[in-house]
Symmetry: C2
Subunit: 119 residues, 2 copies
DNA sequence: CGTCAACATAGACAGGCATCGAATCAGAGG
DNA sequence: CCTCTGATTCGATGCCTGTCTATGTTGACG
């Protein structure tokens, strides 16, 4: 089958969403969707993995480059999957290695959520 | 005792911290501290409570104004405590009511974490 | 004082989640 | 074809946490 760069995970949801948090109270549905992204960054290991990918030269990194975070390699894979399911990272296999990169629009959307409109 | 506006919770930690996530890989200690704040916003109920406080006129709200989020009153109190322990909210008792307000510096610090330096 | 309302705390329970070892899959190279 | 390395998936386990009911604390008001 033409299964080249198809994501092996079910849903790539958690698209950019919602106004700044101090503009209007979020609805239940908005909060549900937004919390997924914050929760994904709410783990120290995932935060280090995300930061490692985001700060890597070229904007992408293979798993072997960022696996040194103090947990087993399956656990690293598990956390990278979570970040991908939350829409924060995208992955692509090139030969032997799998490369992860940051989804830029989602990062900007999260930043906008925390940007206060009042001076 | 002189127990006026003293916070009844142990630690008010989770101060503003760390460079933007795409600048350098976070250390384990940095990630540990930063994850606390993201985890606090990683729950839909807490996100709605925080948004309700942040968007309230005057920048503060009493519990009775924001308690309509579909969970029991003790659960609301529990989540507000979590947000306070994470350093995102501050509370003050005035007469019968307790008012919560957003800790502005922390919000700005979180926004800076997600602000990419590259164009 | 006694009572009422607003919040907080305590304890219990269920579901979620981070972690690991073992097994499996996918390419590269002999 | 075999094997080695990189990475994901699987199943199990133990802790963390979100939720509730019940109770306690604090201040206002007769």
């Amino acid at each position: 089958m033409s299964k080249l760069t198809t994501p092996p995970v079910p849903a790539p949801d958690a698209v950019p969403c919602c106004p700044p948090l101090d503009e209007r109270p979020l609805t239940a549905a908005e909060a549900e969707r937004t919390a997924v992204m914050f929760k994904a960054l709410g783990d120290p290991v995932r935060l280090r993995l995300f930061s490692a990918v985001a700060s890597h030269p070229g904007g992408e990194a293979c798993v072997c480059d960022i696996s040194d975070v103090g947990v087993s390699q399956p656990t690293v894979s598990h956390h990278l999957r979570k970040l991908r399911e939350a829409g924060l990272l995208a992955s692509e296999r090139r030969g032997t290695w799998v490369y992860y990169r940051v989804e830029p629009s989602v990062l900007a959307a999260m930043g906008r959520l925390l940007t206060t409109s009042a001076p």
